[in-house]
Symmetry: D2
């Protein structure tokens, strides 16, 4: 018997917007911070978005590891787009707040921020992201982010 | 192939203290808030502790649902004791901070706070708790807590 | 010249509900957890509510200090009612999430949770609470809580 | 009589490292993410560091406002360096976790992240940052970050 305990994915998510993947890709392309950092989309599914960020010496803190702000940036976008996959058409999703725990030094060849919806509400959505460092065959969880997002009608203009 | 993604349990936890379960039960018995609230231990394993809290009309907010503070109290203790199962003997575990998202109204016959270690460090441990409302056969996730705990040598006296 | 920077109170808050204080007191009286813990209202003003909690050996963690859950409970209610002072009539305020840092052991004769609105929006309000331990003439800040609250039309019944 | 309540600065901070300002500037210069974003130091004092970030269309989210990740990056560094001003010589300060609330859209000509120590402990330091948008003469608080940092002996190499 499988019991749902902490952080277990609710696999039954259904996208309200049949064009959810195109909507995610179109919005992501407008997030200039993502291209400045070098992030790209690795996976899109209802309730789940993974973003990839290669290591870049231009994104580091004082010891040469990736800066927590770079990690937080991709985790925030991964959670935001995970929420966006479940949002109705013609809405926008904005971060209300997030909290990130840094679990290990961010060293590795690349990083994968895996955002996932925990609960999708009419107004607010809660997401959890795991950020993995990938180096050779190894994967290490280096950060966890818990986010609250708000779904709003898209502003004209 | 099973990949570890967000919040997946690290099943390989080993308790450093062979008497970890007795240590958890002895410390829990001294947490007077837990008996004031009516909470009890439901499960103890290395890296994981579940606490049970029956619904009680004396623990509510203004609409008759369990107060977020009561939920946070058992989630905080569940995470603290999950961390404590992995701590060396003669140490104490204290909460540094926690963040909780309330996902749904806390209604139900009883509640289960399932605390789990995400990363156990020498000084700091990070835990994630899921709080479930149980009513008849149904289980609903009503809250998620992400906590940072510190392991310290036990203070004499 | 002193400039208001971090966390400076926005002194210009105006209550939309002329009966805001009565509304706070009436709702607080229905929060049974508050009377179970022994908390009472110390101060109500637009955008600010202080709650008092006397030390009680029935509310402790394993070392005899106040349990973080008891502190979080009064800080959550202080922030919730601070938000409620600025809400329109016939609305309800619910906690979406909160994060608390425990700054010092919670010892003292009594505790004061001072909740204050940082930003009041139409849907979401953000509050910051400081929890002080009071012992003799001394006051020590023992915790800080940052909360997000949602304002909703009151549910009938 | 003025009483210190929520978030009031503890003005009595004393730097243990007489060269604290040089230490902050030297470390900041090694944070390559800060120069990639275009951030610079605006103010350094014991327990307080302000960082300036000009608006840049390369750091935006989908609507042309500054991305929450860019804001979080400078707030995280402001809090980290505020903690660092109070750290002993030959130590390093690392972020354990942080939580940020986005209070308003990040529009403006430039942004000021004002980090301030709430409590400096031997191992852990807690900081609060306020991020202001500056446009013409106006200043708007757009975000608040509550952070936990750890002070560690500097690693050789």
């Amino acid at each position: 018997m499988k019991t749902h305990v902490t952080g277990a994915a609710d696999d039954g998510f259904t996208a309200l917007n049949p064009a959810y993947e195109a909507a995610v890709r179109e919005s992501f392309a407008r997030q200039t911070l993502m291209s400045t950092l070098g992030a790209s989309i690795a996976h899109v599914a209802p309730g789940e978005v993974h973003l990839r960020l290669p290591y870049d010496p231009a994104l580091c803190q004082q010891n040469g590891y990736l800066h927590a702000g770079a990690i937080a940036s991709v985790a925030d976008s991964a959670n935001g787009y995970a929420a966006y996959t479940l949002a109705p058409p013609d809405t926008d999703v904005l971060a209300v707040e997030f909290k990130i725990n840094l679990l290990a030094p961010a060293r590795g060849a690349e990083f994968l921020a895996c955002g996932r919806v925990l609960r999708a509400g009419r107004t607010l959505t809660v997401c959890l992201a795991d950020v993995l460092a990938i180096d050779g065959g190894g994967r290490t969880s280096i950060a966890t982010m818990l986010s609250t997002l708000i779904v709003r009608p898209r502003q004209p203009g």
